[in-house]
Amino acid sequence: MTRDEIFEKVRDLLVEALAVDEDEVTPEARLTVDLGAESIDFLDIKFQLEQTFGFQINEGELFPDNVTQDETFVHEGRVTPSGLAALKERLPHADFSSLGDNPEVTRVAEIFTVDALVRFCEAKLARE
């Protein structure tokens, strides 16, 4: 499957899951801030990706698994540099470029752009 084909499938499922227009789903669109995704939507998106692409996504593989609630990674409402390093290692598909070195916990979800989902699926399909 080409990257464009993956993008199209991801776009279609986001249009359904988040009730957004097709032209809003650009590669750089962030799921939360730009497309209005809430926490429960992440469960739904994970499920829809599995259904669409036929692979299984383990806990914490696509979205962080409680990293932001781990006291060793968070200090005074901000993700510590070591927390950020842990996130980057666990989530190589995510886009950390807009966060800076010491981001607020509430902004962490912004690392999930449409392109991050496409990259995740691309890597996952390549391994299968």
Binding site: E16, A17, S39, L43, D44, F47, Q51, E59
Partner: protein
């Protein structure tokens, strides 16, 4: 009014499928407001089960299935209506049959599929809709927010419908 929108559970395959029915009666107050006589347009009363309450019925059907799968340990909350399609109205005298299946169960919640069938006297049973939902296990999702210990989601009305349907709960 009691907030229970199913009357009986017909079938339960734990962790997989639950089938429930809702009988629609003209004694239900809300049907007299949905819709009343429209004297301006000259239209007679047209009682029909509101679509929102059909969705609630499917959610209760699926919610019990999800709750039962882990012996009602979790507070199972309807978090998202992924899809809701309803092609026909149900009216007094009709029965709605809801079939819920679990598509995926996770620590944080569950994804369910639901179909709606209309059983109307004198007509063949007809599939009239689909409602897909996402449920959240409240205590696992709210980042440390404290909720009461007891399971306030599955209250007395749910226990009654389970018991009168012959579903044993520990």
């Amino acid at each position: 009014m009691r907030w229970i929108w199913i009357d009986r559970i017909l079938e339960l395959v734990p962790g997989e499928r639950l089938v429930a029915i809702k009988n629609i009666s003209l004694a239900e107050e809300h049907l007299h407001d949905h819709f009343p006589v429209d004297s301006v347009e000259g239209l007679p009363a047209a009682p029909a089960m509101p679509g929102s309450l059909v969705i609630e019925g499917v959610a209760q059907t699926a919610g019990i299935l999800v709750g039962h799968a882990e012996n009602f340990r979790h507070k199972v909350i309807l978090a998202k209506i992924t899809k809701a399609v309803l092609n026909r109205d149900a009216v007094p005298g009709d029965t709605l049959r809801y079939t819920a299946t679990i598509a995926q169960r996770m620590p944080q919640g569950a994804v369910t599929r639901g179909t709606i069938e209309l059983l109307s006297p004198g007509f063949e049973t007809e599939r009239i809709g689909q409602v897909d939902l996402v449920f959240s296990h409240l205590d696992n999702n709210m980042g440390g927010v404290q909720f009461p210990e007891h399971n306030f989601v599955f209250g007395d009305s749910f226990k009654t419908v389970l018991r009168t349907s012959g579903v044993h709960v520990d």
